[in-house]
Amino acid sequence: MAMRQTPLTCSGHTRPVVDLAFSGITPYGYFLISACKDGKPMLRQGDTGDWIGTFLGHKGAVWGATLNKDATKAATAAADFTAKVWDAVSGDELMTLAHKHIVKTVDFTQDSNYLLTGGQDKLLRIYDLNKPEADPKEISGHTSGIKKALWCSEDKQILSADDKTVRLWDHATMTEVKSLNFNMSVSSMEYIPEGEILVITYGRSIAFHSAVSLDPIKSFEAPATINSASLHPEKEFLVAGGEDFKLYKYDYNSGEELESYKGHFGPIHCVRFSPDGELYASGSEDGTLRLWQTVVGKTYGLWKCVLPEEDSGDLAKPKISFPETAEEELEEIASENSDSIDSSTPEVKA
Protein backbone atom coordinates (compact mmCIF):
# COMPACT_ATOMS: atom_id res chain seq x y z
CA MET A 1 0.00 0.00 0.00
CA ALA A 2 1.39 3.39 -0.95
CA MET A 3 2.25 5.56 2.02
CA ARG A 4 1.96 9.30 2.20
CA GLN A 5 5.02 11.30 3.12
CA THR A 6 5.09 12.62 6.69
CA PRO A 7 7.46 15.57 6.76
CA LEU A 8 9.04 16.39 10.10
CA THR A 9 8.73 20.05 10.94
CA CYS A 10 11.56 21.65 12.88
CA SER A 11 10.36 24.81 14.51
CA GLY A 12 12.27 27.34 16.57
CA HIS A 13 13.16 30.02 14.07
CA THR A 14 10.95 33.07 14.11
CA ARG A 15 11.78 34.47 10.67
CA PRO A 16 12.46 32.99 7.23
CA VAL A 17 15.05 30.24 6.94
CA VAL A 18 17.31 31.28 4.08
CA ASP A 19 20.12 28.73 4.03
CA LEU A 20 20.87 25.30 5.39
CA ALA A 21 23.78 22.89 5.22
CA PHE A 22 24.57 19.37 6.34
CA SER A 23 27.88 18.21 7.73
CA GLY A 24 29.58 15.04 6.55
CA ILE A 25 28.87 11.76 8.30
CA THR A 26 30.66 11.72 11.65
CA PRO A 27 30.89 9.04 14.37
CA TYR A 28 28.02 10.94 16.05
CA GLY A 29 25.84 10.91 12.96
CA TYR A 30 25.45 13.98 10.77
CA PHE A 31 24.34 17.47 11.59
CA LEU A 32 22.36 20.29 10.06
CA ILE A 33 22.79 24.03 10.42
CA SER A 34 20.15 26.56 9.43
CA ALA A 35 20.60 30.26 8.69
CA CYS A 36 17.73 32.52 9.57
CA LYS A 37 16.77 36.15 9.22
CA ASP A 38 16.22 36.21 12.98
CA GLY A 39 20.02 36.23 13.36
CA LYS A 40 20.12 33.01 15.36
CA PRO A 41 21.48 30.08 13.35
CA MET A 42 20.67 26.69 14.83
CA LEU A 43 22.43 23.36 14.92
CA ARG A 44 20.32 20.22 14.72
CA GLN A 45 20.89 16.49 14.68
CA GLY A 46 20.69 15.70 10.96
CA ASP A 47 18.67 12.50 10.99
CA THR A 48 16.02 13.58 13.50
CA GLY A 49 15.92 17.36 13.29
CA ASP A 50 16.35 17.57 17.07
CA TRP A 51 17.62 20.96 18.12
CA ILE A 52 21.09 20.86 19.64
CA GLY A 53 21.89 24.53 20.10
CA THR A 54 21.65 28.07 18.81
CA PHE A 55 24.69 30.12 17.87
CA LEU A 56 24.19 33.45 19.60
CA GLY A 57 26.18 36.53 18.66
CA HIS A 58 25.18 37.91 15.28
CA LYS A 59 23.45 41.27 15.29
CA GLY A 60 21.63 40.91 12.01
CA ALA A 61 20.00 38.44 9.66
CA VAL A 62 22.16 35.40 9.00
CA TRP A 63 22.27 34.77 5.25
CA GLY A 64 24.60 31.81 5.03
CA ALA A 65 25.64 28.97 7.29
CA THR A 66 27.84 25.95 6.88
CA LEU A 67 29.46 23.16 8.88
CA ASN A 68 32.85 21.63 8.34
CA LYS A 69 33.03 17.98 7.36
CA ASP A 70 33.22 16.53 10.89
CA ALA A 71 30.79 19.09 12.32
CA THR A 72 33.30 20.41 14.83
CA LYS A 73 33.14 23.93 13.39
CA ALA A 74 30.39 26.08 12.00
CA ALA A 75 30.59 29.29 10.01
CA THR A 76 27.92 31.89 9.44
CA ALA A 77 27.55 34.94 7.18
CA ALA A 78 25.39 37.83 8.32
CA ALA A 79 23.91 41.21 7.57
CA ASP A 80 25.91 42.68 10.43
CA PHE A 81 28.90 42.78 8.03
CA THR A 82 30.62 39.86 9.74
CA ALA A 83 31.25 36.20 9.20
CA LYS A 84 31.72 34.17 12.36
CA VAL A 85 33.38 30.85 13.03
CA TRP A 86 31.96 28.77 15.88
CA ASP A 87 32.86 25.71 17.88
CA ALA A 88 29.99 23.43 16.85
CA VAL A 89 30.36 21.20 19.90
CA SER A 90 30.22 23.88 22.59
CA GLY A 91 28.41 26.60 20.63
CA ASP A 92 31.10 29.14 21.50
CA GLU A 93 32.10 31.83 19.05
CA LEU A 94 35.69 31.33 17.92
CA MET A 95 36.26 34.18 15.47
CA THR A 96 34.55 37.25 14.10
CA LEU A 97 35.73 38.24 10.63
CA ALA A 98 34.86 41.83 9.78
CA HIS A 99 33.73 42.67 6.26
CA LYS A 100 32.78 45.90 4.53
CA HIS A 101 29.22 44.91 3.67
CA ILE A 102 26.61 42.20 4.18
CA VAL A 103 28.20 38.74 4.04
CA LYS A 104 26.12 36.16 2.20
CA THR A 105 28.10 32.95 1.93
CA VAL A 106 30.73 30.93 3.78
CA ASP A 107 32.46 27.63 2.99
CA PHE A 108 35.20 25.61 4.72
CA THR A 109 37.94 23.74 2.86
CA GLN A 110 37.99 19.94 3.36
CA ASP A 111 40.69 20.27 6.03
CA SER A 112 38.87 23.18 7.74
CA ASN A 113 42.00 25.30 7.52
CA TYR A 114 40.54 27.98 5.28
CA LEU A 115 37.23 29.79 5.11
CA LEU A 116 35.89 31.31 1.90
CA THR A 117 33.47 34.23 2.23
CA GLY A 118 31.52 36.35 -0.20
CA GLY A 119 28.91 39.06 -0.02
CA GLN A 120 27.60 42.39 -1.10
CA ASP A 121 31.02 43.99 -1.33
CA LYS A 122 31.60 41.79 -4.42
CA LEU A 123 34.86 40.37 -3.09
CA LEU A 124 35.77 36.77 -2.40
CA ARG A 125 37.87 36.45 0.72
CA ILE A 126 39.97 33.52 1.88
CA TYR A 127 40.77 33.44 5.60
CA ASP A 128 43.49 31.26 7.08
CA LEU A 129 41.72 29.98 10.21
CA ASN A 130 45.03 29.19 11.84
CA LYS A 131 46.00 32.87 11.53
CA PRO A 132 42.76 34.75 12.17
CA GLU A 133 44.54 38.05 12.76
CA ALA A 134 46.13 38.00 9.30
CA ASP A 135 44.41 39.78 6.45
CA PRO A 136 42.43 37.52 4.14
CA LYS A 137 43.40 37.01 0.53
CA GLU A 138 40.93 38.84 -1.70
CA ILE A 139 39.67 38.02 -5.18
CA SER A 140 37.85 40.73 -7.09
CA GLY A 141 36.03 40.53 -10.38
CA HIS A 142 32.37 40.18 -9.60
CA THR A 143 30.31 43.15 -10.68
CA SER A 144 27.35 42.45 -8.42
CA GLY A 145 26.94 41.05 -4.91
CA ILE A 146 28.15 37.49 -4.42
CA LYS A 147 25.35 35.13 -3.41
CA LYS A 148 27.23 31.85 -3.07
CA ALA A 149 30.88 30.82 -3.03
CA LEU A 150 32.13 27.26 -2.82
CA TRP A 151 35.43 25.41 -2.83
CA CYS A 152 35.67 22.76 -5.51
CA SER A 153 38.07 20.32 -7.15
CA GLU A 154 39.62 19.38 -3.80
CA ASP A 155 39.84 23.05 -2.80
CA LYS A 156 42.03 23.85 -5.79
CA GLN A 157 39.31 25.94 -7.37
CA ILE A 158 36.56 28.28 -6.26
CA LEU A 159 33.05 28.61 -7.69
CA SER A 160 31.16 31.81 -7.07
CA ALA A 161 27.77 33.09 -8.16
CA ASP A 162 26.48 36.61 -8.28
CA ASP A 163 23.18 37.76 -9.72
CA LYS A 164 23.83 36.89 -13.36
CA THR A 165 27.15 35.03 -13.53
CA VAL A 166 28.83 31.94 -12.18
CA ARG A 167 32.61 32.13 -12.14
CA LEU A 168 35.35 29.57 -11.69
CA TRP A 169 38.62 30.70 -10.10
CA ASP A 170 41.93 29.02 -9.60
CA HIS A 171 42.88 29.10 -5.90
CA ALA A 172 46.63 29.20 -6.33
CA THR A 173 46.76 32.04 -8.85
CA MET A 174 43.57 33.76 -7.61
CA THR A 175 42.53 34.38 -11.20
CA GLU A 176 39.35 33.69 -13.10
CA VAL A 177 39.40 30.52 -15.21
CA LYS A 178 35.95 30.62 -16.76
CA SER A 179 32.54 32.20 -16.36
CA LEU A 180 28.93 31.50 -17.28
CA ASN A 181 26.40 34.22 -17.99
CA PHE A 182 22.69 33.99 -17.31
CA ASN A 183 19.92 36.32 -18.34
CA MET A 184 17.94 35.40 -15.24
CA SER A 185 18.96 35.76 -11.63
CA VAL A 186 20.92 32.77 -10.30
CA SER A 187 19.09 31.67 -7.17
CA SER A 188 21.30 28.86 -5.87
CA MET A 189 24.33 26.71 -6.45
CA GLU A 190 25.34 23.30 -5.08
CA TYR A 191 28.61 21.48 -5.63
CA ILE A 192 28.79 17.66 -5.72
CA PRO A 193 32.42 16.54 -5.31
CA GLU A 194 31.88 12.98 -6.53
CA GLY A 195 31.53 13.51 -10.22
CA GLU A 196 32.40 17.23 -10.03
CA ILE A 197 28.85 18.36 -10.71
CA LEU A 198 27.52 21.86 -10.19
CA VAL A 199 23.77 22.36 -9.68
CA ILE A 200 22.57 25.86 -10.58
CA THR A 201 19.03 27.19 -10.35
CA TYR A 202 17.71 30.25 -12.16
CA GLY A 203 14.14 31.14 -13.07
CA ARG A 204 12.31 27.83 -13.40
CA SER A 205 15.43 26.02 -14.55
CA ILE A 206 17.51 23.49 -12.68
CA ALA A 207 20.80 23.14 -14.55
CA PHE A 208 23.69 20.73 -14.14
CA HIS A 209 27.19 21.73 -15.23
CA SER A 210 30.64 20.26 -14.92
CA ALA A 211 32.32 21.94 -11.96
CA VAL A 212 35.68 21.61 -13.70
CA SER A 213 34.85 23.10 -17.10
CA LEU A 214 31.46 24.72 -16.42
CA ASP A 215 30.19 22.91 -19.54
CA PRO A 216 26.45 22.18 -19.38
CA ILE A 217 25.39 18.57 -18.71
CA LYS A 218 21.61 18.83 -18.68
CA SER A 219 18.79 20.97 -17.36
CA PHE A 220 15.15 20.61 -16.32
CA GLU A 221 12.27 23.06 -16.14
CA ALA A 222 10.03 23.16 -13.08
CA PRO A 223 6.41 24.37 -12.96
CA ALA A 224 7.40 27.40 -10.86
CA THR A 225 10.36 29.65 -10.06
CA ILE A 226 12.91 27.53 -8.22
CA ASN A 227 15.05 28.95 -5.42
CA SER A 228 17.12 25.91 -4.59
CA ALA A 229 17.82 22.37 -5.76
CA SER A 230 19.90 19.46 -4.55
CA LEU A 231 21.20 16.33 -6.22
CA HIS A 232 21.07 13.00 -4.39
CA PRO A 233 24.54 11.60 -3.47
CA GLU A 234 23.91 8.60 -5.72
CA LYS A 235 22.65 10.92 -8.44
CA GLU A 236 19.34 9.10 -8.82
CA PHE A 237 17.11 11.96 -7.77
CA LEU A 238 17.10 15.66 -7.37
CA VAL A 239 14.81 17.79 -5.26
CA ALA A 240 13.89 21.40 -5.84
CA GLY A 241 11.71 24.01 -4.18
CA GLY A 242 10.75 27.60 -4.84
CA GLU A 243 8.07 30.21 -5.05
CA ASP A 244 4.99 27.95 -5.23
CA PHE A 245 5.79 26.56 -1.73
CA LYS A 246 6.07 23.03 -3.12
CA LEU A 247 8.92 20.57 -3.18
CA TYR A 248 9.51 18.63 -6.37
CA LYS A 249 11.41 15.39 -6.74
CA TYR A 250 12.73 14.40 -10.15
CA ASP A 251 14.48 11.39 -11.60
CA TYR A 252 17.93 12.75 -12.48
CA ASN A 253 18.40 10.46 -15.45
CA SER A 254 15.05 10.92 -17.16
CA GLY A 255 13.97 14.30 -15.83
CA GLU A 256 10.60 12.82 -14.95
CA GLU A 257 8.78 14.52 -12.08
CA LEU A 258 8.33 11.74 -9.52
CA GLU A 259 6.66 13.42 -6.57
CA SER A 260 5.66 16.83 -5.36
CA TYR A 261 4.78 17.88 -1.84
CA LYS A 262 2.83 20.73 -0.37
CA GLY A 263 3.46 21.58 3.23
CA HIS A 264 5.38 24.79 3.58
CA PHE A 265 3.40 27.97 4.09
CA GLY A 266 5.80 30.15 2.22
CA PRO A 267 8.38 30.05 -0.59
CA ILE A 268 11.13 27.51 -0.15
CA HIS A 269 14.55 29.14 0.02
CA CYS A 270 16.88 26.19 0.40
CA VAL A 271 16.81 22.45 0.00
CA ARG A 272 19.57 19.90 0.56
CA PHE A 273 19.96 16.15 0.62
CA SER A 274 21.53 14.62 3.71
CA PRO A 275 25.01 13.12 3.21
CA ASP A 276 23.57 9.58 3.24
CA GLY A 277 20.78 10.56 0.85
CA GLU A 278 18.08 9.15 3.13
CA LEU A 279 16.33 12.44 3.67
CA TYR A 280 16.29 16.01 2.41
CA ALA A 281 15.71 19.20 4.34
CA SER A 282 13.90 22.31 3.13
CA GLY A 283 13.97 25.80 4.64
CA SER A 284 11.20 28.27 4.00
CA GLU A 285 9.95 31.81 4.31
CA ASP A 286 7.48 30.35 6.84
CA GLY A 287 10.33 30.03 9.37
CA THR A 288 10.42 26.25 9.47
CA LEU A 289 12.72 23.52 8.30
CA ARG A 290 11.14 20.31 7.16
CA LEU A 291 12.73 16.91 6.78
CA TRP A 292 11.41 14.66 4.03
CA GLN A 293 12.09 11.00 3.40
CA THR A 294 13.75 10.09 0.13
CA VAL A 295 12.10 6.67 0.20
CA VAL A 296 8.67 7.19 1.72
CA GLY A 297 7.76 4.57 4.25
CA LYS A 298 11.28 3.43 5.04
CA THR A 299 12.23 3.13 8.69
CA TYR A 300 14.86 5.79 9.31
CA GLY A 301 15.45 8.41 11.95
CA LEU A 302 12.07 9.27 13.43
CA TRP A 303 10.08 7.58 10.66
CA LYS A 304 8.99 4.09 11.52
CA CYS A 305 7.46 1.74 9.02
CA VAL A 306 4.61 -0.06 10.73
CA LEU A 307 3.51 -3.30 9.10
CA PRO A 308 -0.28 -3.96 9.19
CA GLU A 309 -0.04 -6.72 11.80
CA GLU A 310 2.13 -4.64 14.18
CA ASP A 311 0.43 -3.00 17.13
CA SER A 312 0.63 0.74 16.47
CA GLY A 313 0.84 1.42 20.21
CA ASP A 314 4.22 -0.30 20.43
CA LEU A 315 7.12 1.34 22.17
CA ALA A 316 9.28 1.70 19.14
CA LYS A 317 12.98 2.23 18.84
CA PRO A 318 14.60 3.70 15.75
CA LYS A 319 16.15 0.87 13.73
CA ILE A 320 19.14 2.97 12.76
CA SER A 321 21.54 3.76 15.56
CA PHE A 322 24.89 5.40 15.42
CA PRO A 323 27.86 3.80 17.20
CA GLU A 324 28.04 6.42 19.94
CA THR A 325 24.39 6.11 20.94
CA ALA A 326 24.39 4.89 24.51
CA GLU A 327 21.89 2.38 25.80
CA GLU A 328 20.40 4.99 28.10
CA GLU A 329 19.80 7.27 25.15
CA LEU A 330 17.86 4.63 23.25
CA GLU A 331 15.75 4.04 26.33
CA GLU A 332 15.15 7.72 26.70
CA ILE A 333 13.95 7.95 23.12
CA ALA A 334 11.65 4.95 23.59
CA SER A 335 10.10 6.10 26.84
CA GLU A 336 9.39 9.59 25.53
CA ASN A 337 6.90 8.24 23.06
CA SER A 338 4.04 6.66 24.96
CA ASP A 339 1.95 6.69 21.83
CA SER A 340 3.08 6.74 18.27
CA ILE A 341 1.26 9.38 16.29
CA ASP A 342 -1.47 7.52 14.43
CA SER A 343 -3.50 8.56 11.45
CA SER A 344 -6.76 9.06 13.36
CA THR A 345 -5.62 12.52 14.43
CA PRO A 346 -6.91 15.23 12.11
CA GLU A 347 -5.11 15.45 8.85
CA VAL A 348 -2.19 17.81 8.84
CA LYS A 349 -1.22 18.79 5.34
CA ALA A 350 1.92 16.85 4.49
Partner: protein
Protein backbone atom coordinates in the same frame (compact mmCIF):
# COMPACT_ATOMS: atom_id res chain seq x y z
CA UNK B 1 -11.12 18.04 5.31
CA UNK B 2 -10.63 15.13 2.95
CA UNK B 3 -9.76 11.70 4.25
CA UNK B 4 -6.37 10.64 2.90
CA UNK B 5 -6.63 7.70 0.48
CA UNK B 6 -3.57 6.01 2.02
CA UNK B 7 -1.98 6.07 5.43
CA UNK B 8 0.77 8.51 6.30
CA UNK B 9 4.12 7.23 7.45
CA UNK B 10 4.06 6.91 11.25
CA UNK B 11 6.67 8.77 13.24
CA UNK B 12 8.07 7.96 16.66
CA UNK B 13 7.82 11.57 17.76
CA UNK B 14 8.35 15.05 16.37
CA UNK B 15 11.77 16.69 16.29
CA UNK B 16 12.64 18.37 19.54
CA UNK B 17 12.66 22.13 19.38
CA UNK B 18 14.69 24.69 21.33
CA UNK B 19 14.08 24.54 25.08
CA UNK B 20 13.42 28.29 25.18
CA UNK B 21 15.67 28.62 28.20
CA UNK B 22 19.23 28.23 27.03
CA UNK B 23 21.27 28.29 23.85
CA UNK B 24 21.65 24.51 24.03
CA UNK B 25 24.82 22.50 23.28
CA UNK B 26 24.07 20.43 26.39
CA UNK B 27 27.21 19.71 28.39
CA UNK B 28 26.05 16.11 28.74
CA UNK B 29 25.16 15.85 25.07
CA UNK B 30 26.47 13.30 22.61
CA UNK B 31 29.62 15.10 21.72
CA UNK B 32 30.58 16.56 25.08
CA UNK B 33 34.31 16.88 25.48
CA UNK B 34 35.68 14.68 28.27
CA UNK B 35 35.74 16.72 31.45
CA UNK B 36 37.29 16.00 34.82
CA UNK B 37 34.76 14.51 37.28
CA UNK B 38 32.60 17.25 38.82
CA UNK B 39 32.27 17.07 42.61
CA UNK B 40 29.02 15.33 43.52
CA UNK B 41 26.05 17.54 44.35
CA UNK B 42 24.46 16.93 47.78
CA UNK B 43 21.95 14.10 47.81
CA UNK B 44 18.91 16.14 48.92
CA UNK B 45 19.44 18.84 46.29
CA UNK B 46 19.75 16.25 43.56
CA UNK B 47 16.56 14.44 44.45
CA UNK B 48 14.57 17.68 44.73
CA UNK B 49 15.68 18.64 41.24
CA UNK B 50 14.75 15.30 39.81
CA UNK B 51 11.43 15.44 41.66
CA UNK B 52 10.74 18.80 40.11
CA UNK B 53 11.66 17.50 36.72
CA UNK B 54 9.39 14.53 37.14
CA UNK B 55 6.57 16.85 38.16
CA UNK B 56 7.21 19.02 35.12
CA UNK B 57 7.19 16.00 32.87
CA UNK B 58 3.92 14.73 34.36
CA UNK B 59 2.24 18.10 34.01
CA UNK B 60 3.45 18.44 30.45
CA UNK B 61 2.22 14.99 29.56
CA UNK B 62 -1.18 15.76 31.09
CA UNK B 63 -1.41 18.95 29.10
CA UNK B 64 -0.53 17.22 25.86
CA UNK B 65 -3.11 14.53 26.59
CA UNK B 66 -5.68 17.24 27.25
CA UNK B 67 -4.95 18.61 23.79
CA UNK B 68 -5.43 15.17 22.29
CA UNK B 69 -8.72 14.81 24.13
CA UNK B 70 -9.91 18.13 22.69
CA UNK B 71 -9.56 17.03 19.10
CA UNK B 72 -12.83 17.23 17.23
CA UNK B 73 -14.70 18.73 20.18
CA UNK B 74 -16.49 22.04 20.52
CA UNK B 75 -14.28 24.39 22.50
CA UNK B 76 -15.16 27.81 23.91
CA UNK B 77 -12.36 30.34 23.79
CA UNK B 78 -12.13 33.53 25.80
CA UNK B 79 -10.07 36.06 23.91
CA UNK B 80 -8.90 39.50 24.90
CA UNK B 81 -11.38 42.32 25.50
CA UNK B 82 -14.02 39.89 26.70
CA UNK B 83 -14.55 38.31 23.30
CA UNK B 84 -15.90 34.76 23.33
CA UNK B 85 -15.80 32.42 20.36
CA UNK B 86 -16.48 28.74 19.92
CA UNK B 87 -15.04 26.31 17.40
CA UNK B 88 -14.20 22.70 16.75
CA UNK B 89 -10.66 22.10 17.80
CA UNK B 90 -8.45 20.52 15.16
CA UNK B 91 -4.82 20.63 16.16
CA UNK B 92 -2.08 22.72 17.61
CA UNK B 93 1.37 23.30 16.22
CA UNK B 94 4.55 22.03 17.85
CA UNK B 95 5.11 25.01 20.12
CA UNK B 96 1.40 25.40 20.89
CA UNK B 97 1.57 28.84 19.35
CA UNK B 98 -1.47 28.37 17.13
CA UNK B 99 -4.70 26.39 17.37
CA UNK B 100 -6.11 25.10 14.12
CA UNK B 101 -9.90 25.18 14.38
CA UNK B 102 -12.90 24.75 12.14
CA UNK B 103 -16.42 26.21 12.22
CA UNK B 104 -15.25 29.18 14.24
CA UNK B 105 -18.28 31.15 15.46
CA UNK B 106 -17.25 34.76 15.67
CA UNK B 107 -19.34 37.87 16.41
CA UNK B 108 -19.17 38.66 12.70
CA UNK B 109 -19.95 35.24 11.28
CA UNK B 110 -18.79 31.66 10.98
CA UNK B 111 -15.30 30.95 9.64
CA UNK B 112 -14.96 27.48 8.12
CA UNK B 113 -11.28 27.08 8.95
CA UNK B 114 -9.10 29.34 11.07
CA UNK B 115 -5.91 29.62 13.04
CA UNK B 116 -6.20 31.08 16.49
CA UNK B 117 -3.02 32.57 17.87
CA UNK B 118 -2.44 31.30 21.40
CA UNK B 119 -1.19 34.71 22.41
CA UNK B 120 -4.73 35.97 21.69
CA UNK B 121 -6.36 33.32 23.88
CA UNK B 122 -6.90 34.07 27.56
CA UNK B 123 -8.54 30.75 28.38
CA UNK B 124 -10.47 27.92 26.80
CA UNK B 125 -12.85 25.30 28.02
CA UNK B 126 -14.48 22.17 26.67
CA UNK B 127 -16.44 19.14 27.82
CA UNK B 128 -14.84 15.80 26.92
Amino acid sequence: MQTPPTTTVPVLRLPRGPDGLSRGFAPDGRRAPLKPVVPEIPESQESRESQEQRARATLRERYLRSLLAMVGRQVSFTLHEGVHVTAHFGATDLDVANFYVSQLQTPIGVQAEALLRCSDIVSYTFKP
